[in-house]
Amino acid sequence: MTPAAKTASVPLAGSAVSSAPSLAAPTDEGLVRLARDGDAEAYDVLFERYKERVYRAVYHLTANREDANDLVQESFIKAYRSLRGFKGNCSFYTWVYRIAVNTALNFTKHRAHYPKFSLDLMDDEAQDSEIFKRFKQQRTAPEEISLNELQEKLNKALLKLSESHRAVVVLHDIEGLSHDEIAKIMKCSEGTVRSRLFYAHQELQGLLSEFVGGPTP
């Protein structure tokens, strides 16, 4: 047992999460241990803690809100059933995130319908974000383009990529995973990830040339 897990188990041992002292938020390790022992409320806390982050990742991969919702539920159910097999070599979030990404990739590989982006909201911070400002400085398109318009064009361009190319772009450029992590998740070599990313970038640059500038002659 890790020292962190020991300290986490002290205020939570033998009690439901809701009745635990609220001075410090219970750690993931402590909650996982309680959930493993059958405390459903402990798993609820983990679910609440990570549902949004997992949802975002799955949504970017599936490009559809309803599919993302289904897959998030499925992933958390899978994780709950496999809790006994979770050895704690990585954080709970990393573990459940991998389950969700694998579930989503498996789903997109076999889905019959062509996805249609059901847009999720861009938060208020996006307008004033450093990324948007930097983008505005770099771009060559007319200034009056709105954030929503931009979001729509970006999503349409992403949908034109093949599933494997989109997955690599999402995991690398949106989710911020390294080539190594992507290769492990997608069960392919790092070279394949690099190559897919290169060609996906080329394609996206062509599709979004009005924002990123024309190709080099």
């Binding site: 970017h60 998030v72 019959a112 861009m122 983008f135």
Partner: protein, 172 residues
């Protein structure tokens, strides 16, 4: 360094994920090649654009019902498993298998056609084999050797009847 190689390594160069020697050579190439420097600017712009998607998120109202839905599904699966255990039959597993198979077949109709034809051929073969086995079985058990496989000759019956003089007991 060739432009093509430099451009293939650009993404990793921007991530600072190359080996020090490679970082240096790509950097030097970018400083001396206008076309690759422009390519770098375009890639940076694309990455900034893609990073905007990190701000996309579900409606908070929508997230509220998620936990209730999670519990509803978990309970449904639990009771299905319990019922399956009761009848010693993993219906949930079969349902999952069938769902997966349906998804694959929907997205690959040619594959579905091939599997369909193969299954039909196997079923036809089995039915033929069964019919053949039944018919040939009846023919072989027919003791009379007559054309009619169901006919039993009277001599055959007489041979097997217990003799009245032998003293053999009749079991009824």
């Amino acid at each position: 360094m060739k432009c093509q190689n430099a451009q293939k390594q650009l993404s990793e160069w921007l991530d600072n994920a190359l080996k020090p020697a490679e970082m240096k050579s790509v950097g030097q190439h970018l400083a001396s090649c206008a076309a690759c420097a422009e390519e770098r600017r375009r890639l940076e712009a694309l990455r900034s654009l893609l990073a905007l998607k990190r701000h996309e998120g579900p409606d908070p109202i929508y997230l509220k019902g998620m936990r209730a839905e999670f519990h509803r599904r978990l309970n449904a699966q639990r009771s299905a498993r319990r019922a399956a255990r009761w009848v010693f039959f993993d219906t949930v597993g079969i349902q999952h298998w069938w769902e997966r198979t349906r998804r694959v077949f929907r997205s690959h109709p040619l594959l579905a056609l091939r599997y369909g034809l193969a299954s039909a051929a196997v079923v036809a073969l089995l039915v033929n084999a069964l019919i053949f086995a039944v018919i040939s079985g009846r023919t072989h058990t027919s003791p009379s050797g007559a054309d009619d496989p169901l006919a039993i000759s009277p001599t055959y019956m007489l041979e097997r009847m217990p003799s009245a003089t032998s003293g053999d007991s009749i079991p009824f």
